[in-house]
């Protein structure tokens, strides 16, 4: 548990580094450089990769659901999001409700 505590503290400091560095550098360097573009790509890809891994190869309780249910719920969530004129809460709500309803139907 001590290891985990250290991990949380180090992660918090590591994340703050970027916020603090921004204060230090503001007004001194350009934001739209090629390096930033690449870094932004890596950050996006990392989060996208993690989320798609959780959906395709889940761990924990999500193992009990079928792949088609998880993907179907995401599609429904996106449809709800666009239909509600980009309301994130509606989209997420529909997605969560969908996975629950589908697993109830399958369970019967």
């Amino acid at each position: 548990m001590l290891d985990l505590t250290l991990l949380v503290i180090a992660s918090a400091i590591g994340t703050y580094v970027w916020r603090g560095l921004g204060v230090l550098l503001s007004g001194r360097i350009r934001v739209n450089s090629e390096l930033f573009n690449w870094v932004a790509c890596v950050a996006y890809a990392m989060v996208a990769g993690l989320i798609s891994r959780i959906l395709l190869i889940p761990s924990g309780m999500l193992v009990q659901t079928l792949l088609i249910e998880r993907l179907g719920a995401c599609v429904l969530a996106l449809i709800a999001y666009y239909v509600s004129r980009r309301n994130l809460l509606v989209g997420v709500g529909v997605g969560v409700a969908a996975i629950m309803v589908m697993s109830v139907i399958r369970g019967r």
Binding site: D3, L4, L6, L7, V8, I9, S11, A12, G14, T15, Y16, V17, W18, R19, G20, L21, G22, V23, L25, S26, G27, I29, V31, F36, N37, W38, V39, C41, V42, A43, Y44, A45, M46, V47, A48, G49, L50, S52, R53, I54, L55, L56, I57, S59, G60, L62, Q64, T65, R70, A73, C74, L78, L88, L89, G91, V92, G95, V96, I99, V104
Partner: protein
């Protein structure tokens, strides 16, 4: 005024994400204090999820911190572009370092949009009001998610665990504004699971590097051809 703006959809959406994070932390065996400390200290949902997932996968500590840091790189350009907007040049820079901890994607986007037609003196307090409210609401939200995950029937827990993945699917796909961001999403979504099959512990970092670099190079090639 910042507070009033936050207390609507922005705080509700963030709180929902943190509710999901609390549930994930519970399922992964984190204790409550650490779960709330993650929200307060890291204050970035992707980084928090990466921390939990990599810890669960048994990844080495330094690699986990590196991955969390990589997900937080986005704060650098955000912080650099936000500071000239909210900082009063006549006042010292030092307090800005404290304010920077509150910076997150939502508060950045709102402050950048709303502060442009505000007098300079009002901007910092707007940002602190907005970002501070979001932060303060997410702490009890994490705690609630943690408790609800433990006491709710399995079906509800399943819903809570699904909250974060679906939240990011909608957020990432719905808010991908540039072609560069969109191609990074596609490349990352393909590279992540594939590299997970190769090595679960390294997959978050390697998937990001491979997928992100591929997306960057593809877009550069396309850009050249257009020009």
């Amino acid at each position: 005024m910042g507070m009033r703006d936050a207390l609507g959809a922005p705080a509700a959406v963030l709180a929902a994400g943190m509710l999901g994070f609390g549930a994930l932390a519970f399922e992964s065996g984190l204790n409550l204090v650490l779960a709330v400390a993650c929200t307060a200290g890291i204050w970035a949902l992707p980084g928090q999820i990466v921390l939990i997932e990599m810890h669960a996968a048994g990844a080495p500590g330094p690699l986990t911190v590196l991955a969390v840091m990589l997900t937080g790189v986005r704060f650098l350009p955000m912080s650099i572009s936000l500071m000239p907007v909210i900082r009063d040049p006549k006042k010292p820079r030092a307090p800005m370092y404290a304010a920077a901890q509150l910076l997150a994607m939502t508060s950045w986007a709102w402050t950048m949009r709303r502060c442009m037609d505000m007098p300079r003196e009002a901007r910092l307090s707007y940002f602190i009001g907005f970002a501070g409210t979001c932060w303060a609401i997410c702490l009890p939200a994490t705690l609630m998610g943690y408790y609800l995950a433990g006491s709710f029937p399995p079906l509800m827990r399943l819903g809570f665990l699904f909250l974060n993945p679906v939240y990011f699917v909608v957020l990432l796909i719905g808010e991908a504004r540039t072609r560069l961001a969109a191609s990074a999403l596609v490349c990352g979504a393909i590279a992540g699971p594939l590299l997970y099959l190769v090595n679960p512990q390294w997959s978050v970092v390697s998937g990001g590097l491979v997928g992100g670099t591929a997306a960057y190079l593809i877009q550069r090639q396309l850009g050249r051809r257009d020009a």
